[in-house]
Amino acid sequence: MEFGWSEAQVAYRQQVRELLKATLPADWDEIAVHGPGSQAQTEFSKGFCRYLSEQGLLVPHWPREFGGAAGQPWDHFILGEELWAAGEPRGPQYMNVNWIGPVLMRYGTPDQQKRFLPPIVTGSVIWCQGFSEPSAGSDLASLRTRAERVDGGYVVNGSKVWTSYARLADHCFLLARTGDKGKGGIVILLTPMSAPGIRVKQIPALIGEGDIHEVFFTDVFVAEENRLGAEGQAWEMITYALQNERIGIPRYAFSRRVLDRAIAKLQTEGRFTDPILQDRAGRALALCEAARLMVYKVVDERANARPPSAFGNLARWAVIQADHAVNDFLTEYLPEGLLGADPLQQAHHQRAIAAGIASGAAEIQLNLAARRYLELPSEAPRAV
């Protein structure tokens, strides 16, 4: 047991930092303020990811056969930490490299891998995630969008909601129901967003421009060759995808960065001598570092090729606590940051308020931790 970085890891982190310093424009905070789904950040991400790809830093953790460099899990994580701390200049494409690509590598046909993976490797494609529906949020298995079998493929009818990046996406990783209720009747369709019958409506939201949409599917034809895996196999693939997302985004890295910036500002203003302010800052700092170590523990499991454990759910909870603690500290002591004075603080605020909701609600994480990590007995279903 030890908690240090190897020389190679320090050098790798430095390489990423230098790349960011050389690449991000002076007005990057302004570009990033509206979030990864905004037009501005998505446009920026296309050029940035292309450059990352050229530098071998977009999918370094992928196997060589799919265009990666078979990098170490810790390197991939260091990359994620630095990019998220910088405001995620990959825009929506972090999703491609973290889980859409890996799912395609594992379950895709050779033809699908040939069609869909190279654009991810070169950073030239945007995907959106067609999971949640108006009646299926945390309870994903109750989704109702139908995929009816027809000659050569499926016809999809239904709607998705909360869909990030939908307006700018090229493809949708779409879940639809072919069979009966429950987890067994779901299929995954790799759906071109240009297909006739798809309508995207942006929903104005607190969390930034372009992050939330409703997507309507009316008689949308999806060719059979775009079905991922077999009908009924979707839940297995979703579980695998979520395992790849099990540590989620290294949100605490961004929280720590904005906290450091805030303290520097408070020091400059002569306010950091206030013991109450110091107390609050110290507690937020402790939660950030707690989240960091909890997530590192999960990365360590992966680096040692251990099967995914439910510890990841505990780590997610710790990350949520850190995001909110920093956000609350900033909102209390630097409210001007949300009044136009600090785009980066606003960007952090907009990500923090979604931390316990997006990618599996905090309460779902606690449910999973209780059952799988603590092995507590299940709650008996109530009689209706």
């Binding site: 047991m1 030890e2 908690f3 240090g4 970085w5 890891q9 810790w74 450091d260 303290i263 520097a264 020091q267 950091f272 013991p275 110091q278 107390d279 609050r280 800052a281 110290g282 507690r283 700092l285 402790a286 939660l287 570092e289 707690a290 989240a291 170590l293 909890m294 590192y296 523990k297 990365v299 360590d300 499991e301 680096a303 040692n304 510890f311 759910n313 505990l314 780590a315 909870w317 710790a318 309460e363 994480q365 606690l366 449910n367 931790a369 209780a370 059952r371 990590y373 603590l374 092995e375 507590l376 007995p377 299940s378 709650e379 008996a380």
Partner: protein, 307 residues
């Protein structure tokens, strides 16, 4: 970065398990709340485990791993101060070691201590303790507490104010490491209870409201442990203060929840949850409490020298 113990660390921990396994570590059902085990205390000293940080090839991290494990036993023994603070001093300084802020105030482990280390804000004093000069203090805190009967004619060596910073750093580390072990042990005790205790026809632990709070407690106990172990690895001012902040900040909520899930049973000495929760409550106020640690964490982490 490696979260699993290496071969040497595992060997040290296995050795401790053997020592613990050979002892009866059940706290007495009646008698002192502190459940102090002279046998364990003595065997830890004789075996050399508490001196591990002084051994070549070992460090504070191995000491912390041992202290965290010892804290999970139902009985108490003076391990944290000896293993984590005492290495700052000459090897001939005798243990058990009591830590305090005033010579006259009650201190943990003082009834069994041979040395008391006092940080009075101006100087750090090394006080030789004569067992006959210690008056036991009755307390709900599940540690032995005592105070010196008389303060004149004590053998005191002033270590100088420069010792205050390292002493407080290690004291914070000791709070964090011991606190992490206590949290995990208390959680384990309650998990066992909620899986077997039935109300409304089903185990208490099947209710979602209980499950969520226990999952949060598990996250807290884990984070406390990793923060404490990292602090032991780095022996850094900010890391030690961050770890102590996290532990002391979490103690009220964690002890409230764990007692709540055990109902009145948890208020009886027979149930033994207090062996860990009332040690945690004792740690809550040490070194000025969570606010003092949080302010230290903030000023150390963001000190101009560090930036």
């Amino acid at each position: 970065m490696q979260f699993e113990p290496d071969e040497d660390q595992r060997a040290v921990l296995d050795g401790l398990e053997q020592l613990l396994g050979a002892l009866d570590l059940e706290a007495p059902k009646e008698g002192a709340l502190s459940a102090f085990s002279r046998t364990l205390d003595q065997q830890l000293a004789d075996s050399g485990f508490l001196q591990v940080a002084r051994e070549p090839g070992f460090s504070l991290l191995e000491a912390a791993l041992l202290v965290e494990r010892i804290a999970r036993t139902p009985v108490s023994a003076e391990a944290a101060a000896s293993a984590l603070v005492l290495p700052l001093l000459d090897p001939e300084v005798a243990r058990p070691l009591a830590l305090g802020n005033q010579i006259t105030a009650p201190a943990r482990f003082l009834p069994h201590a041979r040395t008391m280390l006092v940080d009075n804000g101006e100087d750090v004093l090394l006080v030789e303790v004569d067992a006959g000069n210690v008056e036991p203090v009755e307390t709900l805190f599940a540690y032995p507490y005592g105070r010196l009967r008389r303060t004149q004619d004590l053998r005191i060596r002033a270590l100088g104010p420069t010792m205050a910073t390292p002493l407080r750093r290690r004291w914070r580390l000791a709070i964090a490491v011991e606190g992490a072990g206590l949290m995990q042990a208390a959680l384990d005790e309650v998990l066992e209870h909620v899986k077997t205790r039935h109300q409304f026809g089903r185990p208490i632990g099947s209710f979602q409201v209980v499950q969520h709070r226990l999952a949060m407690t598990a996250a807290t106990a884990s984070a406390a442990r990793w923060l404490a172990l990292r602090a032991a690895w780095s022996d850094d001012e900010a890391d030690c203060a961050i770890a102590a902040t996290y532990v002391q900040d979490a103690i009220p909520r964690l002890t409230y929840d764990l007692h709540q899930f055990c109902g009145a049973m948890g208020l009886t000495l027979e149930f033994r949850l207090h062996l860990w929760t009332y040690r945690l409550k004792a740690l809550l106020g040490e070194l000025g409490g969570s606010s003092a640690q949080a302010r230290t964490a903030a000023t150390r982490a963001w000190s101009p020298a560090r930036q």
